[in-house]
Subunit: 152 residues, 2 copies
């Protein structure tokens, strides 16, 4: 059946927010088979942003965006606050979450986060940006995040 | 083995000149199997540019570039001049051919053509542009062309 070990020449992975949420995130969460699954599963809290590049490589092209899936790690089992710290720093939300629609239906939300080196509430702002997607039907479930390196 | 009937979500076909020549054109000419073969075989001389769009559709996205493979049609069997006329008009070369390299090796050439409505040497210039690729090793062989619609 459909199975691909690599991306065929000429194809680039440039998913829309809708495709990320409605296809990839939904299937990742339900552990459904994905055609040409290029989104690696990682533990975001054990990996620094600059190490994701090698882990999440798609094809041979140089990219400035990487895609991965990571389960949320609860800082306090009883709470809803999420621990987004790594060894070298932490991810901090910025701006307002953006709604993701499929036609007219709200299917998910996109949160933007910036990586700071050091420890909260201090830390040095970096140029690493992550987009964290969640399904609207499953706000506390797993999430898929997309990280984009901004201009230095 | 590798077989795909459709392009997976999130993937766009944006090949480089090198990928078009070194992978797709080379395989088309030698009738070698292509993973996820999205390049249709058409008879360019029987199809008007505005009809290619429907024939060469890849995925569900709206595109402004289409890719196809067409065998060259010799106007005069003994000559090297190529007949690029359709019912409604003709393709006319413009500018200079561009070399296509793989690293430092010349692997092919890219010719740019413009579509004119009417009959040569007259005709009304349109905004349809085609890139015709040929292998450097097989200048009179089959070719693969890429058409891009320019701005109106």
């Amino acid at each position: 059946m459909n199975s691909f070990s690599r991306v065929p020449p000429g194809f680039r992975f440039h998913p829309t927010d809708e495709e990320l949420v409605d296809y990839y995130l939904r299937k990742k969460i339900t552990s459904t088979r994905i055609d040409l699954d290029v989104i690696k599963e990682v533990d975001l809290y054990k990996i620094e942003p600059w190490d994701l590049q090698e882990l999440c490589r798609i094809g041979r092209e140089e990219e400035d965006e990487w895609y991965f899936f990571s389960h949320k790690d609860k800082k306090y089992p009883s709470g809803t606050r999420t621990n987004r710290a790594t060894t070298a720093g932490f991810w901090k939300a910025t701006g307002r979450d953006k709604a993701v629609y499929s036609k007219h239906d709200l299917i998910g939300m996109r949160k933007t986060l910036v990586f700071y080196k050091g420890r909260a509430p201090h830390g040095l702002k970096s140029d690493w940006i992550m987009h964290e997607y969640r399904l609207e039907t499953d706000p506390n479930g797993a999430h898929q995040a997309r990280r984009r390196m901004g201009g230095v």
